[in-house]
């Protein structure tokens, strides 16, 4: 399969950050979503970390590293003015209880119903077990769920698919997909192609996307 060159991961994260409104509580998953935090500094956005922290600061380095202060990806982070700590059940009450405005996660696959798969990679050969972590709780409680991922696998196979071939994390939950090639909104009518990597045609995006894409009337280049 043909693989197109698109946005680097950091810039996918930048595009996601522009979708997040001020005064939001946001949870960022592992991978590209983590990079979104780099673009939220100075914004009125509060990061919730499922380990038990509101107002998570940026990554800590060198002498600022505190072994009692990590985010949910096990990276050392900084405390900022207004940081709050709490225990794990309170954290998941925030998550499952629908108090987090926006959740950004990575995925292996997304389909046009807004189902997605992220927790179990069958090729790892581990007899049906994987790392669920907080992914299912986050997806269940999310008011808005954004997926940030590469458009295709390393081999160029579509990750936006008709039917999930990986076990699902949650059903009918994904609102938008941000990839290196496109921004796609999931609507009751189907997947709407809203933004496209400069230089690529709709047909080229369609060639690496399994479900039939509806083209937004105001389709534009990915806005940064």
């Amino acid at each position: 399969m043909k693989k197109f060159e698109g946005l680097p991961r950091e810039i996918i994260a930048l595009r996601v950050s522009k979708e997040i409104e001020d005064n939001s509580y946001v949870n960022l998953g592992i991978g590209i979503p983590t990079l979104v935090s780099n673009w939220l500094e100075g914004r009125d956005v509060i990061l919730q970390s499922e380990i038990g922290m509101l107002k998570t600061g940026s990554l800590a380095e060198g002498a600022d590293i505190d072994q009692d202060l990590i985010n949910a990806s096990c990276q050392p982070v900084l405390e900022v003015e207004g940081t709050v700590y709490f225990d794990i059940c309170e954290s998941f009450s925030m998550i499952r209880g629908g108090h987090v405005d926006v959740t950004v996660m990575g995925a292996f696959q997304v389909n046009e119903s807004g189902d997605f798969a992220s927790w179990l990679n069958p090729s790892r050969g581990l007899s049906g077990v994987g790392n669920i972590g907080g992914s299912m709780d986050l997806a269940t409680g999310a008011r808005k769920l954004y997926i940030a991922m590469e458009h295709t696998t390393n081999d160029g196979a579509p990750k936006i698919v008709r039917e999930l071939t990986y076990p699902s994390t949650a059903r009918n939950k994904v609102n938008m997909i941000f990839t290196d090639l496109a921004v796609i909104e999931i609507t009751p009518k189907g997947m709407v192609l809203k933004e496209i990597f400069p230089g690529l045609s709709v047909e080229e995006i369609q060639s690496v996307t399994e479900p039939r894409l509806l083209v937004a009337p105001d389709l534009k280049e990915i806005e940064l």
């Binding site: 038990g52 072994q67 009692d68 700590y85 007899s127 709780d137 994390t169």
Partner: protein, 259 residues
């Protein structure tokens, strides 16, 4: 003004402090279910975990929350190669990197079925501990509906994939999940007092509090041991009624390892 109970003749403070790791882990036998506090590298009871290795008890079920054994790799290596683990319960128990994980004896023993790994969504798992502590035997939760979690227990041991019950509540499919009551919990706190009142530091709190609530016997290692009444009563995180033993330990420096 806070009045120390020391000033009153006849009013005795409970003293739950133990003087050695051996005393701390007394009663943990082969086949026990032991909860281990911590979330990756933060808040893991490293001293008590080392003591559990030295004690040599086997056939253990280690009830975790989110990968404390990945955050304490040396201890995991010893437990696995020493054949002490029968089962691990966790939400995120496998190495993130497939290549790193594939080489590790822990994953190899999961693949061979020698060690069972059962996984739950993290919020469901923490609630299983809280419910055990709160005297609620089971609860309905929507998390996992539409996934394999709804169908049966997620475990590498096929014989143990017990079917789950569901019920539609307010139009949503919910899964019946059961409280999880470990025999023992080993947890880590920043401060404690002889009556078992605890305070944690920053994100090292995580699962330590709910595990203290859940277990029949909770053993807390504390970096600082305050005198009775030495903790601000307004800011105790875990009231001592949930804690049976307190061991003062030095603050151990560790690396926040990459998963």
């Amino acid at each position: 003004m806070r009045i120390s109970c020391h000033f009153f003749i006849g009013l005795v403070c409970m003293d739950k402090t133990v003087k050695s790791v051996e005393e701390a882990l007394a009663g943990i036998e082969d086949g026990a279910c032991v909860a281990i506090g911590g979330f990756f590298a933060a808040g893991v009871p490293r001293i008590l975990l080392k003591a559990l290795i030295a004690k040599g008890v086997r056939n253990l079920t280690l009830a975790c929350g989110s990968g404390p054994l990945l955050g304490a790799k040396d201890e995991l290596n010893h437990l696995v190669t020493g054949g002490q683990i029968r089962k691990v319960i966790d939400s995120y128990g496998l190495f993130r990197s497939a290549s790193k994980g594939g080489q590790h004896p822990f994953e190899q023993k999961i693949r061979s079925g020698e060690i069972e790994l059962e996984v739950f969504p993290m919020g469901t798992l923490c609630e299983k501990y809280r419910m055990a502590g709160a005297g609620i035997p089971a609860f309905f939760v929507p998390v996992g509906a539409g996934s394999l979690v709804e169908e049966a227990a997620i475990t590498n041991v096929e014989a143990n994939r017990k079917k789950k019950e569901t019920r539609v509540i307010d139009g949503k499919t919910c899964i019946l999940e059961y409280a999880l009551k470990p025999d023992f919990a080993i947890i880590h706190a920043h401060m404690g007092d002889p009556e078992g009142n605890l305070r944690y530091r920053k994100t090292a709190r995580n699962f330590n509090h709910v595990m203290a609530m859940a277990a029949r016997v909770t053993i807390a290692e504390v970096e600082n041991l305050a005198a009775p009444g030495g903790l601000d009563p307004e800011s105790v995180h875990t009231p001592g009624i949930f804690v049976q033993r307190v061991l003062q330990v030095p603050r151990v420096k560790f690396d926040i390892t990459n998963l």
